[in-house]
Symmetry: C2
């Protein structure tokens, strides 16, 4: 594994860039950040205060904090770094253009890690001089609080190296064996939301009831145990083999009964008015503050057990 | 709302019955329990020790505990109770037979609440003298730790009354507007698991990586915020309306790309060997103990905020 004594570049200083920069800084890495917008660059240091304070609450020592340099150009930001965390808009030619600029400047072993959510490694790598150095490293919002990072790439050495770096900043990297749209987590989230929309569309339950059922039921359980392991326990002492033999057929029937909703005007209206009722007058910013506070409590509860069985 | 000064009957003394009995007792209700098996009845009091101790850890005062009576007959168990919590096997004629026996004994206002997971109110109510008194009240395993109870029935008064009772034992009841197979939570869980199985079946990621992605990503987030509200925040300051307008079409495309796996022999083997690897030698009992310990920590972290935004 590479010794991570080099700085890290953060390209794109929006919400995701803020989280990455805060994470690297809080764990002692020097960060070189850049955004094409001078205005976004100007406010960046101040916007890191909240995530940095949250990371202190979670145990990061402010005395060990790395040094932030907001660069005036992309070339300046990526010079001398071990890894470039790219958080540009979800636009293939735009990202490929950035990679070409980066490859013209960085050393042979520098990793380019894309935070892309909607795109895949296979879509982003064409045209690179050295595609081995590209990995997708998809964080989950808000990235400085939710530990997951989903990795894909074709170089085992680079993946190992990135895995080590992300673990050193408190992340829980998970590695895909195959490139896939939506990686793992957004595929799972999308599958669940489809059914959540169906339940509202069919008038089975209101938006706020569906959300409450998730938070007080499977969501709570999935915060400590995965879906596969849950069914393993559902099989009793013989576990998954017993579950599949006895309840597999009923699951297959259940799957066939799940919904395929359309986002019609009426369904959209039900979702919009439903979350408005659930929000009960709180703005998105207020909800974010409350979400972060609850996430921090949940992370503190995980403690030494690391949150997973 | 009914004053809940009457005892509660718990019929069926398996795992679900144990949880219900422990919950009611820990919150000061007297419980009259019965199971057709003398052997199961015999061990019931001792089996309540673990859930009762866990509820003390979560703040229940052992000095306020109710009195447990293990009855020798169904009639003895349901005499004088305000609510019968029925946890019989998922068999319609069996449950209907029990309801007939119960209705012959109880007073006019006694509620019969079925813990059924796989059956619906519409399947269970035919043949009852007073179907208004039947509700489905589906808990989520392990019921004494996971707060969700999903309610459905046709009498608003009985639902209100049951809602009050379940809240008084620390539950978070959620009410369905329409009877539905799998209620809400198991529909969501089934939809998510279908995609989790697809990801394994397609070789995108291993069982343990899928579980880790869930626990460290969406699972953690869904333990504090529901799926609908999450997309509301995903829309920025304009919330769900903005999200649906700008990202609705990409969600619909994602939905179309989700999998429809079959539980073939090969897929079953991949799931079985995958959870075996993830379990790393731990028995199902050991995993349950670890799950419970983590759930207790997560519940303690929720604290005054009650765990939901």
């Amino acid at each position: 594994m590479v010794e991570w004594n080099k700085p890290v570049a953060v390209l794109g200083c929006g919400l995701i860039g803020e989280s990455w920069a805060a994470l690297f800084l809080a764990h002692g890495y020097d960060v070189q950040a850049w955004d094409p917008s001078p205005q976004v660059r100007l406010g960046f240091t101040a916007r890191l205060e909240r995530p940095l304070a949250q990371l202190v609450t979670l145990g990061c020592d402010p005395a060990r904090r790395g040094r932030l340099q907001v660069a005036e150009s992309l070339a300046e930001a990526v010079i001398g770094v071990g890894l470039v965390q790219e958080n540009a808009p979800e636009n293939i030619p735009l990202k490929q253009g950035l990679y070409a600029e980066i490859e013209a400047v960085v050393s042979a072993d520098t990793i380019i890690a894309s935070s892309t959510s909607a795109l895949t490694w296979s879509e982003l790598s064409p045209g690179m001089r050295n595609p081995q150095r590209l990995i997708t490293a998809h964080p989950f919002n808000p990235p400085h609080l939710v530990p997951l990072v989903e990795l894909y790439g074709i170089s085992a050495a680079h993946l190992d190296s990135a895995d080590g770096l992300y673990r050193s900043i408190g992340r829980k990297p998970v590695c895909l064996k195959k490139d896939a749209v939506g990686h793992i987590a957004n595929r799972l989230a999308s599958a669940l939301w489809r059914e959540a929309v169906h339940i509202v569309a069919e008038g089975i339950a209101d938006v706020s009831e569906v959300d409450a059922a998730l938070v007080h039921g499977p969501g709570l359980r999935w915060s400590v145990m995965g879906a596969h392991m849950t069914y393993h326990l559902g099989g009793g002492q013989e576990g998954m083999a017993h579950y599949l033999r006895h309840l597999g057929p009923s699951q297959v029937r259940r799957w066939a009964s799940l919904g395929m909703p359309q986002l019609t005007e009426a369904v959209c209206q039900a979702l919009i008015s439903g979350v408005d009722k659930e929000a009960a007058g709180r703005s998105v910013s207020e909800l974010e503050v409350q979400r972060d506070a609850q996430l921090i409590k949940a992370l503190q509860a995980r403690g030494a057990a690391d949150g997973m069985l």
